[in-house]
């Protein structure tokens, strides 16, 4: 594969897009440097979402801080809570009940499903393919209702607490039966969609070879998550996580790193997620779902990595008098910004937003510790 390089000497003009733009589900500014409608360089400016969550977390009681991490991002809200309580549990040396761990995984995988469906729908919307987008949003609605049934809210379910999961997230037989039937329906429909999508030659010709991110470049930019796996690197933190040990699943990889590989990897990963949820429901252990016998102690900063829909999520903080100290959060989109800027090079301007969307941006996650650039 030819290396794409930013060619600044041929830049003819600059086209700024955003922060309010139809192809962006969140505010960000992108400056496209084009020559004859071909993007030669792209610059993404974030900081539009900066709210200083880490700054607010500093000094909060750890239970409150956990609830706050949920508000970092509306798409991967459960992932942030999960990783935050996981960090606290590592700091306090708490062993959570097995049932709680299973329920967390069910929530995490359901969240991966809804995030991937959102990604696919948004990708189709950016392609201006309204029909596919609507069908995917319809599929996603089923998952959203499952999440609302378990957690009590459609977006922020507040599932994890230190020592287990919240009692309202307990799964009884009726809930399990509903999850099973809904997942069956989703799986059939998703398989139909995947068939329909891959056999659509017009869409395929549009997305094959668009927004290519070569493997070498992906490794150089330290890209994570499905965006990295779409270039052929089998890298998934889930295999190293003790929570995922009882489950049998495959790491999906695709070749090419273009929009097609990125869209397909999300479809295939959704099937794997459904598989994991089924296994978790089948082997759901009996017992309590929360362990409240822990004691608050001070601890040095500890860190925890988990795999969220977009890649590796890193949380780290220490505890002092039950309060959070030295909090650092690193989200996967932070690493993927380089990939977005790189993937857009050499593509038509109409595809530029698609190339950014293919790396699954979540700038609300990412904008926290970055200093806002102020005008003089």
């Amino acid at each position: 594969m030819d290396e794409k390089l930013p060619r600044s000497e041929v830049i003819e003009t600059e086209i700024p897009l955003g922060p309010v733009h139809p192809a962006a589900l969140e505010p960000y500014r992108v400056r496209l440097f084009v020559e004859d409608e071909i993007v030669q360089e792209a610059e993404i400016t974030i900081g539009v979402n900066h709210r200083g969550v880490e700054r607010i977390m500093e000094g909060l009681p750890v239970e409150k801080a956990n609830a706050l991490t949920e508000k970092i991002c509306g798409i991967c809200s459960n992932a942030h809570v999960w990783n935050s309580v996981r960090t606290a549990e590592m700091a306090l040396d708490i062993e959570i009940p097995e049932r709680a761990s299973y329920i967390r995984i069910i929530m995490g995988e359901l969240e991966r499903l809804h995030s991937h469906f959102l990604y696919l729908a948004h990708g189709c919307e950016t392609l201006a393919h309204e029909t596919f987008s609507m069908r995917l949003f319809y599929l996603r609605e089923t998952i959203m209702e499952l999440l609302a049934m378990i957690g009590g809210n459609r977006v922020q379910y507040g599932c994890g607490i230190i020592g287990g999961v919240r009692p309202r997230c307990e799964l009884d037989d009726a809930k399990i039966a509903r999850i099973r039937t809904d997942l069956d329906a989703v799986e059939t429909k998703l398989a139909d969609f995947a068939d329909r999508f891959t056999s659509d030659t017009i869409v395929m010709s549009r997305i094959t070879g668009t927004g290519v991110l070569p493997q070498k470049q992906a490794l150089k930019l330290a890209v994570t998550g499905p965006t990295l796996r779409a270039t052929g690197v089998a890298n998934d933190v889930r295999v190293d996580m003790p929570e995922y040990e009882p489950f049998d699943f495959n790491i999906i990889t695709q070749e090419g790193g273009d929009v097609k590989a990125n869209l397909l990897i999300r479809v295939l990963e959704s099937f794997e997620s459904i598989k994991i949820i089924r296994q978790a429901l089948d082997n759901l252990p009996e017992g309590p779902i929360v362990d409240r016998t822990w004691e608050m102690v001070d601890s040095e900063p500890v860190h925890s990595y988990i795999e969220v829909p977009r890649g590796i999520l890193y949380h780290s903080y220490g505890l002092e008098d039950g309060k959070v100290r030295s909090c650092v959060i690193r989200t996967p989109s932070m690493a993927n910004i380089g990939a977005m800027q790189y993937a857009a090079i050499g593509n038509h301007v109409t595809d530029a937003q698609l190339c950014i969307v293919q790396c699954d941006p979540c700038f609300t996650c990412t904008d926290r510790a970055i200093e806002i650039i102020r005008r003089d």
Binding site: V20, E37, E43, T131, M134, I202, R206
Partner: protein
């Protein structure tokens, strides 16, 4: 003096006005029909009421505040949608049999010329629109640390103007080729001759060249209307609405009405050229049926395709142009 009072001319003028009014009313339903009965049906939802997109949205815009558009020549910019509307009006008047008496208007050359005016309007609109949504957005872009701080900066509408210019150069070529297919059979560029030729020899549509020509005409119709997948000049993923960005209130209403009217007019032209049915009397009903069929197929086609970039547009248009040439050659044989 006696020309004005000639009852034949007065009757003709009244007939044309009534025809145009009927067509205008019918055409306002077309965007709604496309949205509700085609797109929404395919997308498995209820969709908007059929009257909303075509009729009540323009009426609503009529009652909005008339904002001065951000444009270097706002007077010209505001005049352009009215020019477009007049062009479409002329086209529909040309398709009525009463106008066949004026040879300068009732010819293919006039139709091509008027459609070209429509396309030139898009270029001017794109070049004159300076919307808030890209460059003027207050955002610290060229600050310390940014790349290429001294580069030339442009509006998204400039992109759209460049694209419209290309569409003039090659995009609408298939439609013009398809317009000339009946000419090759009737051996005349004048509509009365084309219509009377089809009265004696049967419609052009049912010949080999006519069928190929009709396909080319249909795709050309979609390109002319900037419908998905040929909507690159107003692609939502970069230029948002392209040339129409700055229109508000009455001018936006005219833009909305013109679109529905153009949908109807091109279908009526197709009927005149390919079936030999001029837009009068029973012909209006045929024209309505043709417009509905066109809108139905266009809706189905656009619901299942993503927007084309140049990579897909070039092959499609080259292929269509070749088909159009084939149709003309078949007609000449």
């Amino acid at each position: 003096m006696n020309i004005v009072l000639n009852p034949v001319i007065i009757n003709s003028v009244i007939a044309v006005i009534i025809t145009v009014l009927i067509c205008l009313v019918v055409s306002t339903f077309l965007p709604g029909i496309e949205r509700k009965y085609v797109h929404a049906r395919i997308q498995q939802r209820i969709g908007p009421p059929v009257t909303s997109p075509g009729i009540f949205a323009p009426i609503k815009f009529m009652f909005k505040e008339n904002i001065e558009p951000n444009s270097p020549v706002s007077g010209l910019y505001k005049a352009l949608p009215i020019v477009c509307f007049l062009v479409v009006l002329c086209l529909i008047i040309i398709s009525t049999p009463q106008l066949f008496a004026i040879p300068a208007l009732a010819s293919i050359v006039a139709i091509v010329g008027l459609l070209k005016v429509e396309e030139v309007c898009y270029v001017l609109m794109g070049a004159l629109s300076k919307s808030i949504m890209s460059l003027p957005m207050p955002f610290p872009d060229t600050i310390k640390g940014a790349v290429h701080r001294d580069s030339e900066r442009s509006f998204i509408e400039d992109l759209s103007a460049k694209r419209s210019l290309r569409m003039i150069a090659y995009g609408s070529f298939p439609l013009y080729l398809a317009l000339f297919v009946p000419v090759t059979q009737a051996r005349s560029i004048f509509l009365p001759t084309i219509v009377s030729y089809q009265f004696t020899h049967g419609p052009v549509l049912f010949t080999a060249s006519g069928i190929v020509g009709a396909i080319v005409f249909f795709i050309g119709y979609m390109i002319m209307l900037n419908e998905y997948p040929f909507s690159i000049i107003k692609a939502k993923s970069d230029v948002i609405e392209g040339p129409y960005m700055e229109y508000a209130s009455k001018y936006r209403a005219v833009v909305y009405i013109t679109r529905g009217f153009l949908m109807f007019t091109l279908a009526a032209l197709f009927l005149v050229l390919y079936c030999g049915i001029p837009l009068f009397g029973l012909g209006i009903i045929f024209a309505i049926i043709a417009a509905l069929v066109f809108v139905l197929f266009m809706g189905i086609f656009s619901a299942f395709t993503p927007v084309f970039t140049n990579k897909q547009l070039y092959p499609v248009i080259v292929g269509l142009s070749l088909l159009g040439v084939l149709a003309i050659v078949l007609g000449l044989l």
